[in-house]
């Protein structure tokens, strides 16, 4: 930094006006953290200023100014990440686009143009009001569009519609120089050279700031149901998953969850989980354009479930009943968070999911650790939790994580399928990715952000 944070503050005030530059620590408390468990969350720096621009032009001016003065900029969205990706770990500027939250739905093209500060909840609502549907659901609807793109968010509904990358058709970005670029467009086909837009998706705020995006919407499915399938044996549950997909049914989501964790989450919400038999359960969300279509899928799933020794499956049909189930599923993390050290998002080919779970059982036994496991069984993405012991981070936590990662990679998987590298996974990222790949990524970072002002200390040490 060439100048003091006081000077930066004055510089920012001249761009966005006094009201939108915040320096009091107590007023920026919520911007210094994300949803990473306390035990491992990186600490925010001391000298920070929070700025809330209202337009692309203001963002551009802020970046140009920061680049000139070599001031680090930490773009933040809804701060719902789990790897410290948006935590401002060096003195500098926190950039929140929350005032840039306009959404326009283009019904003709089945797309939405959303500013980066709009929340996922806003987008779901806007799409719904236009009779359309934005299926992506990483859990917390407070996440913002910019953050969803920066982290290439996933979530429970990837089985049918894919991850954030599959929705983004265009982005407006600001480079550190302040230059504004529009990549992609309302196009299904676009072969203009290297695909820079897809390079930006998942770049975790290290290459540019996304200010606006064109996002694909889908017709609202007229009919949907949620199924709960209980199994006594986990193997049976996991084995049923590819069989369901092979039967020609593509559910919106297939989630594997243990009864113990479901009960913990339901209890946390003051509810009761409706199925108390079967330690291993599959939650399946089906959607379709007609009741007949959905029920014929239900029948096929029922057959597969029976073949794989499932117990009595239940079905939720009303909006209210389905929401309650999804809410319990979405709150497993919140229920466990207090006693949690870390949440991993190891991802393997779907056919190796059971192998990974068996390996995790072994580790659980060997370390004598409770390792709650649940995840997106329909896409091979498993959330393994490392828990505290007697309120403390156990001494074996890092070794255990290392072994889980090794097992994942040896099964043809990656250490992160959803959460990204952020601050927390840098060590493993460098351990499991080839030097050549890392060097290419470094070069790309240098081309976009030669002064390393954008989200420094993330992805790369």
């Amino acid at each position: 930094m060439r100048i003091s944070i006081k000077e930066v503050t004055e510089g920012l005030k001249s761009i966005v006006g006094e009201e939108w530059v915040i320096t009091e620590r107590e007023s920026m408390e919520g911007y210094l953290r994300d949803e990473t468990p306390d035990a491992i969350r990186p600490k925010a720096a001391e000298n920070l200023v929070l700025v809330k621009p209202s337009s692309t032009r203001e963002v551009s001016e802020i970046l140009r100014y920061a680049n000139e003065m070599l001031v680090p900029v930490f773009p933040v969205g809804g701060r719902t990440g789990l790897v410290g990706g948006c935590v401002p770990i060096e003195d500098g500027i926190i950039l929140s686009l929350e005032r840039m939250n306009k959404i326009e739905v283009d019904v003709e093209n089945l797309m939405a143009v959303a500013e980066a500060g709009a929340t996922l909840g806003d987008l779901i609502k806007a799409a719904d009001e236009a009779g359309l549907f934005f299926p992506l659901h990483p859990g917390d609807e407070g996440a913002q569009i910019g953050g969803l793109i920066a982290t290439n968010a996933g979530g429970v509904r990837a089985v049918k519609y894919g991850v954030m990358r599959n929705y983004v058709k265009g982005v407006e970005i600001i480079l550190p120089t302040g230059e504004i670029l529009n990549l992609g467009g309302m196009l299904i086909k676009n072969n203009m050279g290297y695909d820079l837009m897809h390079l930006i998706i998942g770049s975790e705020g290290t290459l540019c700031v996304v200010t606006k995006a064109i996002l694909k919407l889908y017709p609202r499915s007229r009919y949907s149901v949620t199924l709960i399938l209980p199994f006594n044996k986990r193997e049976d549950a996991i084995r049923a998953v590819p069989e369901i997909l092979r039967s020609g049914v593509t559910p919106l989501a297939i989630e594997y969850v243990g009864l113990k964790e479901l009960n913990a989450a339901a209890n946390h919400l003051g509810e009761e989980w409706p199925v108390q038999s079967g330690d291993a359960q599959l939650l399946i969300i089906l959607s379709g354009s007609s009741e007949d279509e959905v029920y014929s899928a239900c029948e096929r799933i029922s057959e597969v479930a029976e073949k794989n020794n499932a117990g009595e499956a239940l079905i939720a049909e009303t909006h209210d009943e389905q929401e309650r189930i999804l809410k319990v599923r979405s709150n497993i993390y919140t229920a466990l968070k207090r006693d949690m050290v870390d949440i991993l998002d190891a991802t393997v080919p779907m056919s190796r999911l059971l192998d990974l779970m068996i390996k995790i059982d072994e580790l659980s036994k060997r370390y004598g650790a409770y390792l709650p496991v649940y995840g997106h069984a329909g896409d091979g993405n498993l959330h393994v939790h490392v828990m505290k012991e007697n309120g403390e981070v156990p001494s074996y936590a890092d070794d255990l994580k290392g072994e889980i990662y090794e097992a994942t990679v040896s099964l043809g998987g990656v250490i992160t399928g959803e959460h990204g590298v952020g601050r927390l996974r840098i060590k493993e990222f460098h351990r499991f990715l080839s030097e050549k790949e890392r060097n290419l990524m470094r070069e790309i970072k240098r081309v976009f952000d030669p002064n390393n002002i954008l989200n420094p200390g993330k992805i790369f040490p």
């Binding site: 409706p274 029920y295 239900c298 029922s302 079905i315 049909e317």
Partner: protein, 269 residues
């Protein structure tokens, strides 16, 4: 085990309240905007019947009055534990207020014949009157207890319930035949099993029209013709949105301003 009871559950199909759109100009519900579901309180009524069935044995008949599409809700009722279902559908039933609705339902119950207990939800979420249950009991000439939030005991000829009326609780013993309306606190409705749901899609629904019980009813009391209620005006209160205001400047002055605002809003005295 006592001899099997005959229980009748009255259901209404309503729009899914979480999704339904409201036309603020006309004050009408746009029923096409959301899928139709069983009125949530009626799910409690059905669950209460199923719990009685599990404890002492009962045959449950679900009855609904509505358009042909209300068959879906009756199928749902069968998936959730009803043994059979009757749909009352006829143009002559349309436009009914609570009086005509109750009359029609009471005629249908008479037509069913012997029953021990009729169970309804305390009210519907689209009408919100809570009148139909008690009015049906009056037409049938049987005793009723409204707002039942606990069923304490079921015997062959009577039921012991706890009813909440305003601030007071009443523990009431009701002799059969009789009618109760239940609140949402009476139980937590279970989800139906996938198998029952699939099976219920093929279940037969008995359909009755006005002629089906002409021997028991006076057609003049059906539908719009039998409805003395007229809606004079529908008024939709404007939803108050949360407001935010930032007080800046001198701390003491800002504090005083905040106090004034809170006093004016009757938050503090």
């Amino acid at each position: 085990m006592i001899n099997q009871l005959n229980i009748i559950v009255l259901l209404k199909q309503v729009p899914d309240i979480e999704k339904v759109k409201f036309d603020f100009k006309t004050g009408r519900i746009d029923r096409s905007s959301a899928e139709a579901v069983i009125n949530p309180f009626d799910l409690n009524a059905l669950e209460a019947a199923v719990e009685i069935k599990e404890k002492v044995g009962a045959r449950i008949t679900a009855i609904s009055m509505g358009p042909k599409t209300a068959e879906a809700s009756l199928r749902d009722a069968i998936a959730r534990g009803a043994d059979n279902a009757i749909l009352l559908t006829d143009k002559r039933f349309a436009g009914a207020d609570t009086l005509a609705t109750s009359y029609t339902l009471a005629c249908a119950i008479r037509k069913v014949g012997s029953y021990d207990l009729v169970i309804c939800g305390e009210k519907t979420i689209d009408g919100d009157t809570a009148q139909v249950g008690p009015e049906v009991a009056e037409f049938l000439g049987v005793p009723h207890v409204a707002y039942v939030e606990e069923i304490r005991e079921v015997k062959r000829d009577r039921i012991l319930v706890k009813s909440k009326m305003g601030r007071n609780y009443y523990i009431i013993e009701l002799k059969f035949p009789g009618l109760i309306t239940v609140t949402k606190d009476v139980n937590t409705p279970r989800l139906p099993s996938l198998k029952d749901k699939i099976r219920s899609r093929k279940a037969e629904i008995t359909v009755w029209n006005a002629d089906s019980f002409s021997d028991l009813a006076d057609e003049r009391y059906f539908g719009a013709a039998g409805s003395p209620t007229t809606v004079a005006k529908v008024y939709v209160p404007k939803a108050e949105r949360r407001k935010g205001k930032i007080f800046r400047g001198d701390l003491e002055r800002a504090a005083k301003e905040i106090a004034t605002v809170l006093r004016e809003a009757h938050v503090i005295r």
